[in-house]
Symmetry: C2
Subunit: 263 residues, 2 copies
Amino acid sequence: MIIVKIGGGKEINIAGIISDLAGIDEQYVIVHGANALRDKLAEDLGQPKQVLTSVKGYSSVYSDEKLIDVMMMSYAGLRNKRIVELCQRHGINAVGFTGLDGKMVRGKRNKGIRVYQGKKLKIVRDFSGKPQSVNSPLLHLLLDNGYVPVLTVPIIDEHNTAINTENDDVVRVLQKALKADTVLNLIEAAGFLENKDDPASLIKSIPVSELEARERQVEGRMKRKMLALKKLFEQGAGRIIISDGRTDHPVIGALAGKGTVIA
Amino acid sequence: MIIVKIGGGKEINIAGIISDLAGIDEQYVIVHGANALRDKLAEDLGQPKQVLTSVKGYSSVYSDEKLIDVMMMSYAGLRNKRIVELCQRHGINAVGFTGLDGKMVRGKRNKGIRVYQGKKLKIVRDFSGKPQSVNSPLLHLLLDNGYVPVLTVPIIDEHNTAINTENDDVVRVLQKALKADTVLNLIEAAGFLENKDDPASLIKSIPVSELEARERQVEGRMKRKMLALKKLFEQGAGRIIISDGRTDHPVIGALAGKGTVIA
């Protein structure tokens, strides 16, 4: 079982990814982002995104009700349905899901994020949280009947409200439920870079034991991502491949070991 | 089996409809529109909708690729996911679907619509068509496992492309597949009105035999709707109730016979 995570950057070659997947024999589930699309739509609608940075240095998008609306339009609407359409064109019988549908991904809403406003400490509560579990019976019902689930945010919280979460965390609960051996993370870079501004600084492999040190090395959103990766191994993933989603054949490339292999 | 069609007008009391449905014992499937939302979003994005009127007098929205994008955002994204969320809050385990997902609703793309441009006859081809069939096994897989499908456009054509269609036509193929006895059509009016500008002119019942005469009486989009109703009876529906979706209890009202009952 493979989990294919498609990044939400605007340069990701989604058509190439889906075309590659059509040639794969192993079972897989798709998780996708749409952050570039969301940001553009929010801009076009005159409500540009706001980013919160917690006192611990983790940053996240401020997810008020309007932002959730925009996410439903961009992630669950346009991006999810165009991916499902592409899959169908390639003979993959895809079914799009958010975490709300059939309570596919259940989570817990954040109590509040501690942020500094100037020098003042403030607790900001929005519609965001952490996924806790997936609806495994529904997932298997689909997989066993030949359907490929295509998952995205929002997810559903303990009060049945739509909340935003990191797709990396969705991958984590999904990997655990499906006992997926391989996670492909297709992003807008050649892989994990020693120096994020230098594409030539690609790190070809990272032993799991080094992940904690790497986490301390990076900042902002990347910090969250490294933390999520570490957790994946703690719960039994075999290998994670962070690879370039912009090439002609992102999945074939990743499975051939292009990018950063963490194992 | 009941098919509940929720109109896409902006005054429809969706919360009231879902709250009513939570108290219903019979099995049902939801089909919803989002035309007011779509039109507003298209306006906000600077691409206002264009309407085509065929030489036969049927009117429809000109569905180019950008309009399909907007429909994915409004119908499949925001409206569908907020309805699913509302359902979950009321204990209804809803799963949102477009016709693309699992090829739930398959159709045939229109070859072109004959329209007059000035006095010139022209054939315009867009991404629109007619639904032909639904994926009954998938529908039953969900229903048998306690899930409530929440369906909307777009649907999938013979070349696996997303196309727009009338939700009334989706209701038609769905009714046939599920052998649904009752169709509730919750709209922004008290029911079928003799004079569309006079709410007091409600027609409380229409015998099926009169539908053809009624179709000749109306214009534009309503013409399509009457045609769709007629077909429902030809394929075995027991009763159709066109009722007010703006009241506090639209479903309870409709099932009690408020509005126009066609039987």
